[in-house]
Symmetry: C3
């Protein structure tokens, strides 16, 4: 199982899911559906969804066994799986997630008995650890940290006071019936912090919808940072204070991000990129490039812009 991109569910025939959703099943699926997965790259035995045209390019190459799509979605030649056609794919996906989502109530004690914590871990007072969370050798968890269920913290990590790992990501679908409330997207995935990760005080790393939000080995976050659901950050990155990264964005290795930077969702930042403080990044950045400004542009362009407007950057 691709634990970064998929979350297991009890195996069941695709026809059962189609019936549950009132969907038209197109194609046949020999194997049972046993996971919910991201569209890119998908997973054999996995169910995913396609809500917006923007991501249609991923459908052709997705290895998902089935994908929830709109009634008029063209099936690309490359896609070998089945389609579940519905009027409102995002609403159907919300319904699937809700059906398989498990609510982990907090144990009355601070640390859930099912959590697996290496005996060498130092845990400050007021730390709360949810069901089935794991923490590796030598990690230090400062006071008042909250680690939600299933989160995986590596060895030699440091979590400063007030950090929140694994809270629900921010996802809501417009209501099926107009005028009703927003539909909550249940988050079935988890957070993985690899070894030697340090997270600054009061920073938050949200759990994935399915699969995992990942902070790579040796990466360091300053205080009050916000890491959205399904973000992947590579190794040895440095994120200064109050950085925010929106959902599903992928950050390479050795990336340096200045304070108060905002990075949009679903984009890719290459290895070794550098992003100046307060930048707003909404497009991919190639490896090794330096970007600044909001919207962010290459550093050379940013500097020229100020000259052109007869305005030295202070």
């Amino acid at each position: 199982m691709d634990r970064l991109n998929a979350t297991n569910i009890p195996p069941q025939p695709l026809s059962t899911l189609a019936e549950f959703l009132g969907a038209t099943l197109e194609g046949s699926c020999e194997i049972p559906i046993q996971a919910l997965c991201t569209l890119d790259p998908g997973l054999e035995g996995g169910l995913s969804f396609l809500a917006q045209g923007t991501y249609a390019k991923h459908l052709a190459e997705s290895t998902a066994s089935a994908v929830i799509v709109s009634q008029n979605q063209v099936k690309p030649e490359g896609f070998k799986g089945c389609l579940l056609r519905v009027d409102y794919p995002y609403g159907a996906w919300a319904k699937v997630l809700d059906n398989f989502g498990v609510h982990h109530a907090w144990h009355s004690s601070s640390i859930d008995p099912s959590a697996i914590i290496h005996p060498s871990v130092q845990i400050g007072p007021g730390v709360r650890i949810g069901a089935h969370a794991t923490i590796g050798e030598g990690s230090i968890i400062h006071p008042n940290v909250t680690i939600y269920a299933n989160s995986q913290i590596g060895s030699q990590c440091i979590l400063h006071a007030g950090v929140v790992i694994g809270a629900d990501g921010f996802g809501f679908a417009p209501p099926i019936i107009k005028g009703e409330g927003l539909l909550k997207i249940k988050h079935l995935g988890l957070v993985i912090l690899e070894d030697h990760v340090e997270i600054g005080a009061n920073s938050c790393v949200d759990r994935a919808v399915v699969g995992a939000t990942v902070i790579g080995q040796g990466t360091k976050l300053d205080n009050l940072c916000q890491i959205g659901h399904n973000v992947r950050i590579g190794q040895s990155c440095v994120l200064a204070g109050q950085v925010g990264i929106a959902g599903s964005t992928i950050i390479g290795h050795g990336v340096q991000i200045g304070g108060q930077v905002g990075i949009a969702g679903h984009i890719v930042i290459g290895d070794g990129a550098r992003i100046g403080a307060q930048s707003g990044v909404h497009k991919n950045i190639e490896a090794g490039k330096t970007f600044m400004g909001s919207p962010a542009v290459e550093a050379s362009v940013f500097r020229r812009k100020f000259v052109a407007s007869n305005m030295k950057p202070n």
Copy 2:
């Protein structure tokens, strides 16, 4: 009583308050003063204040029974109440608030015995709930959340770990005697979260000076957001991570606000408005409009600006 715009005090003659403040009383007030209220809209039996010329327009239509004003403030024809004239209205207001402010010491147990919590509410370890707070049916309060005294949480709400509801708003008046310290504006109001509100990890919603800070039904906030005192947010709004809204701003229904947006105080954002990530909003936005940039302008203007300067927005 208009609980959104006013906070009760023990009823007393206006003359007593005038004497307490060393104020010149202009006009006579038959009924006792029984509340402190905002100038707009005011309240019969309520006392308010007018510190800056900017808000003088509200005085004419205020229904407050008495308003603290400066010595030379012109009394507009429309205003039917009394004036309390002083040298330093904001300082006098600070003195009134300080006089009637009740300090709610935290109970040694995590949940104050006077709090009213529906038995169905799920409360994680480390949650602290102050005096007379209320929480409605089916709400989930994750670990290490702090809910200050008198806060009102509706039903089916979700508060993620580390959220702070009802801390003092940020208000300080310049000292009466130069060289002394800033005067703290005591916050006598409260916070109301209506039903189906979700607040992301480590976000903060400050209590009102008088009246209430309100988050409307079905509105969702992401992590690390800051909502200032006396802000009103309508129903079914979506605020992405690290948004900050300064005091007394009013947000309509169905407003969508991107990550790291800052919104100034005392402005109005219309229903259905959309605000791009990292925008800085310092003027009213009409219903249905899309704004971006800092300072924020209409999206079409924002795009033209980049073309004009030969600078595509990346």
Copy 3:
């Protein structure tokens, strides 16, 4: 001892430290090294370091008894102390800090028995206080606040819920051997909050590398602010929500900083300066000036810029 700029270590001959670092010792030092100190202003009996050419100007006037420098660093005439020459000064400094750093494990009870807390202090449930921390008369510490070891909180301070005082600052040196992980800069210094300081909910004030991070008397911080290591903020300043100040920056007295402002490290903001919301400040600001924009410029220039581009600021 200059407690703002230096941290004591057990006294020892400089030759011992040179040997520990494998450094070439240039000059001789009669007195033992008994503190680690900042380069500017330095300290007699203190050891500091010079990693980047940018700060070379401080070497000539530093009163440090010894400074770790690179192999080819020119010794300025004014400098009277010794030099410890190494290949990688920042790495050597990291090694020194690591050698003398004391890890204060959290006591299993919420308040370390060695903390000194005035009996009048009000402490909410869930407050965690580390070893040797002190809190002065009349201060109020709201729930779920974390105060790390050695932090000094003055009298009449208010710390709102979720505040974190004294977490490690954000400092990492590139690895000595390429491909290894980042070196953590141990933080041996502390945080000092002077009297009448108020800190908003979930804000963070990091401890110094050596010496102290200081918030001056009567200064008020709103929620979700981030104050980096070795920052000094003067008296009666006002910082609105979500402000971030990077390491070693010095802020004068009576400075007003708008919401979501970011201030770079190692700069100086003069007394009475005002900085508009969302500004990005990366150069010194003179006393009394008003700056806005990102990068921030004088307010008059900022307004002209919008006129020049035919773009009113909304």
